[in-house]
Subunit: 358 residues, 2 copies
């Protein structure tokens, strides 16, 4: 097992990464404060892994909420199911929630923990690659609104993140690829050597070689932890972690949540960011092709939905959280492996890229 | 105008109290950071006072959300109306919300501000006595769940509280009395001299004498600011501010939100707390009668609903936020003007009091 620490003063917490961690009850129990614990999972993950947590939880008053699976259910209505369960279970302010599942379960459980009785503790137990390398670390929680993704939420840090890489054995291929999009993202933001490593090891990653996957997860979490520790509330460099997300969120919202997986939309969003960066003269055509090829090798989509117009993009992007006082900020690439946040881009170039007039 | 400061380090903020403050645009504009501002009000208050804010807000991209009036609407569904408006208005992370109304508007606007795009600024402009002396100060925000009051929420401090006492001129008598319950509460918790003053000035308060009301508001806000500054997150003495609330919340929930006003339920709850304190031997029968008489003089109910059983109370109280690890903590009175938080009370005495077997 490897352990990283996310350093946030008195809200610091460990990230455990390794095989068979669900079989180590003390990793969980060490971080449960009160006498009551409620696990939130979904109908896909619960039958596979909820039982593994039982030995750890038998000393607590414990129950589980099983949500429907998928991004389409990441909304206030499903969140209310969690609140109702907590109230029926008479969960108090010392209750610890456990998020067992992917990013949707983690984000909703985290926001339920942030807002139930004005805040209770929670532990992240991610079971998808995307949740392991990105959403379970850093304290961003929330739900979607019909008019925009993650528009309702809170910063609320977990007590611990427990990453059992064995759970990846049951992950669908499409979900594995979606997670790889966020892994590749760290390379594109701040680590060209990691990109080279990913390029060299893509076949092993897709074949789910345990050591290769563990290294990719460890390195990704290390990047995430460094960035979040430096800028928890996203007043600066944390925004870089949204590379591809402004475009990706527009795709997700326009297509209907759950049609495109988040990682798939981000992959295409990163290609769009690369294309605009090339229009700005920062990337060469070869750089864009390298990025497209790497994402495609990870079996990710690299072109926007054919029925989505440039105007569709602009409409959904206008409510993006990176709009400040009406001006859109984008994450673009100065070089392969070096991204920046900027409001200083050519608006006409953006329109050309979104209209696919390249 | 008088100004108090709630001292919370870099989250400190001023509380302005006086007549005609809605006609002083700079009090608002000083605390609006971005270019967009959204006022949340309700259908009773908006026709009376929304216009007064217009001169202050004309320099901003400004719009208003008008909610239905009443505690019955303090829920996730109404909250979602605020989110929808914010997204349609393309409100960004620098948007400032303005809560113009009573406690329901303030609590919901505050929680919308806490959770919209993971947190934006807001300003409290309370227009009821209860909101002025209690709910607008201290950063408790949230909505009700069908199974319990204020069960969903966040701590989120406003940028400023602007109390224009002129707005009390349009307040219904019943709402004025409900506010007086929370004013009397401060006396019962920590200020016996203030109780004596309230007793001596009750007629002037009910006659809405401006100077008398202003002093009552100032003194109440001073108590609230002191307690919150010492214990923002309610790990200790802030819980005292919930005197009468555990019983009161049970009444509100059992009768259906909005049937009993919050202040009315708290008044009766404080009588129940006094009765239990007498059962514990801490108060004399005369003390309980003094408290009943003072509240009754403020035209507040001092007996629980006749159709509410002791079992009804216990059921609703079992999910109260002051339950910790299954044991109920209550705020009781060691003397008139001195309250304590305790889990160390006689459970049989509690049952006798709730069953009205006195």
């Amino acid at each position: 097992m490897q352990t990283l620490n996310l350093d946030l003063g008195d809200r610091s917490y460990p990230i455990y990464i390794g095989q068979g961690l669900l079989q180590q009850p003390e990793l969980l129990t060490e971080h449960i404060r009160g006498k009551t614990s409620v696990t939130v999972s979904n109908e896909t993950v619960a039958p596979l892994y909820l039982g593994s947590l039982q030995p750890a939880l038998k000393a607590y008053k414990h129950s589980a909420v099983i949500l429907p699976d998928g991004e389409a259910h990441k909304n206030l209505e499903t969140l209310n199911q969690i609140y109702t369960h907590l109230l029926e279970a008479k969960a108090d302010r010392k209750t610890t929630l456990i998020a067992l599942g992917g990013g949707v379960v983690g984000d909703m459980t985290g926001f339920a923990a942030a807002s139930y009785q004005r805040g209770v503790n929670f532990i992240q137990v991610p079971t998808t690659l995307l949740a392991m390398v990105d959403s379970s670390v850093g304290g961003k929680t929330g739900v979607n609104h019909a008019l925009g993704k993650n528009m309702i939420g809170a910063f609320h840090q977990p007590q611990a993140v427990i990453i059992d890489t064995d759970t990846l054995n049951t992950l669908a291929d499409r979900e594995l690829s979606a997670g790889l999009a966020e892994v590749i993202k760290y390379g594109l933001i701040r680590d060209p050597q990691f990109l080279t490593w990913l390029d060299a090891n893509m076949d092993a990653l897709l074949a789910r070689d345990p050591d290769t996957l563990t290294y990719a997860i460890y390195r990704s979490c290390q990047h995430k932890a460094e960035v979040v520790a430096a800028d928890e509330r996203e007043s600066g460099q944390r925004a870089l972690l949204n590379l591809g997300h402004t475009f990706g969120h527009a795709i997700e919202a326009a297509m209907g949540y759950g049609q495109w997986l988040h990682g798939e939309a981000v992959a295409t969003g990163m290609v769009i960011a690369a294309e605009l960066s090339a229009q700005m003269g920062w990337l060469a055509a070869d750089d864009v092709n390298y990025i497209r090829r790497l994402l495609a090798r990870a079996r990710l989509p690299v072109d926007p939905p054919s029925d989505m117009t440039g105007e569709d993009f602009m409409r959904y992007m206008s409510v993006d959280k990176k709009v400040l006082d009406g001006s859109l900020r984008l994450i673009l690439m100065k070089a392969v492996g070096e991204s920046i946040v900027t409001a200083d881009f050519d608006a006409d170039a953006l329109k050309r890229v979104l209209r696919r007039e390249l």
